[in-house]
């Protein structure tokens, strides 16, 4: 098809598609009027049965914790896939112009931000099942702190601070830990990912049983996975600087 033919066909199709989508959506209950069984039930029993004050956290790591296992591995394998595709096996030469910024003010602010963002990330991860947040959000925030290291100092400092083998190990260990917690549940309680720890008091850190373990496993996995992802793309970016040659 030529471009024009494609867009003509698409305009007809888009018209039909919007019609059907709207037809379906107007059969929903009107906005704000929802009373679905699943959500209502979990809102009712989530805190009492799981002792997790954040019901979303309880769903993510327990009621539907198996979805999250899949999600962890989606992230995990995409990092593997990106590394596999980019094959950044090239050594970045020790070149000076690899730094993102050379402005002192930016560096100072960036440097100050690193601990703040890091602590924020840890806090988000730690209180995931008590207040909003959780392993994923915390993990990405921790990874952002590592990015700030780059803006504040140099690419080399960033690369040295985040050695790929260590990150590989953390990522793999986090992902494996999730599976292992699941398997322990299978061994002790007969169901994969079944809770095997005391539930504790809702609203405190020592609550919610094995949700805490899964939460931390995923926080480590997500943080390492994100840093690895950024690294892959940074290495591509760094190659655009003059003086850096591709090896292949």
């Amino acid at each position: 098809m030529s471009r024009r033919q494609r867009l003509t066909l698409f305009s007809v199709v888009a018209l039909g598609l919007s019609g059907f989508v709207l037809w379906a959506m107007t059969d929903l209950r009107s906005f704000g009027d929802y009373a679905g069984t699943y959500g209502v039930l979990l809102n009712k029993v989530g805190v009492s049965e799981r002792h997790a004050s954040n019901v979303v956290g309880a769903i993510v790591f327990d009621f539907r914790g198996f979805d999250t296992l899949g999600e962890e591995f989606i992230l995990f394998s995409s990092v593997m896939g990106v590394a596999f595709i980019l094959r950044s096996s090239l050594k970045i030469k020790d070149q000076r112009p690899l730094d993102a910024v050379s402005n002192d003010a930016t560096r100072t602010v960036g440097g100050l931000m690193v601990p703040i963002v890091l602590i924020m990330g840890l806090w988000l991860a730690a209180y995931g099942y008590v207040t909003p947040g959780g392993g994923f959000q915390g993990g990405v925030a921790i990874a952002s702190a590592a990015v700030l290291v780059w803006t504040a100092t140099s690419y080399r400092a960033f690369a040295r601070l985040t050695p790929a083998p260590t990150l590989d190990a953390i990522e793999g260990a986090g992902a494996a830990a999730y599976v292992v917690v699941g398997l322990v549940g299978l061994g002790l309680d007969g169901a994969f990912l079944a809770n095997f720890l005391p539930l504790g008091t809702a609203g405190t850190l020592a609550s919610a049983g094995s949700i805490g373990l899964l939460n931390w496993a995923s926080a480590f996995e997500v943080a390492a996975a994100n840093i690895l992802l950024y690294r892959e793309f940074f290495q591509e970016y760094v190659q655009t600087f003059p003086g850096v040659r591709e090896e292949r």
Binding site: G57, G133, V147, F233
Partner: protein
């Protein structure tokens, strides 16, 4: 109610703008604003968990990955 109306409309308008920004660099910026409008909407819809996710993803992960790719593919390329 008004807040919901405004944030939904903002998301819609910005989403259309993202698609219609053909220059990649410009699109990254518009996309960043679009991401923020989504965060606001999620908070308005009482979904702070999702809002936080979108915040960390939209302000760090998306722009970083996109900017690196844009920089990498910008140079005039020699054929293989």
């Amino acid at each position: 109610m008004i807040l919901q109306l405004i944030s939904f409309t903002a998301v819609m308008v910005l989403g259309v703008l993202v698609v219609l920004s053909f220059d990649p660099l410009r699109q990254v910026m518009v996309n960043g604003v679009f991401g923020l409008s989504l965060v606001v909407l999620f908070v308005v819809l009482q979904a702070p968990d999702v809002g936080l996710s979108e915040l960390v993803v939209g302000t760090v992960a998306f722009p970083l990955v996109l900017l690196a790719t844009i920089a990498r593919t910008k140079e005039t390329q020699r054929p293989k």
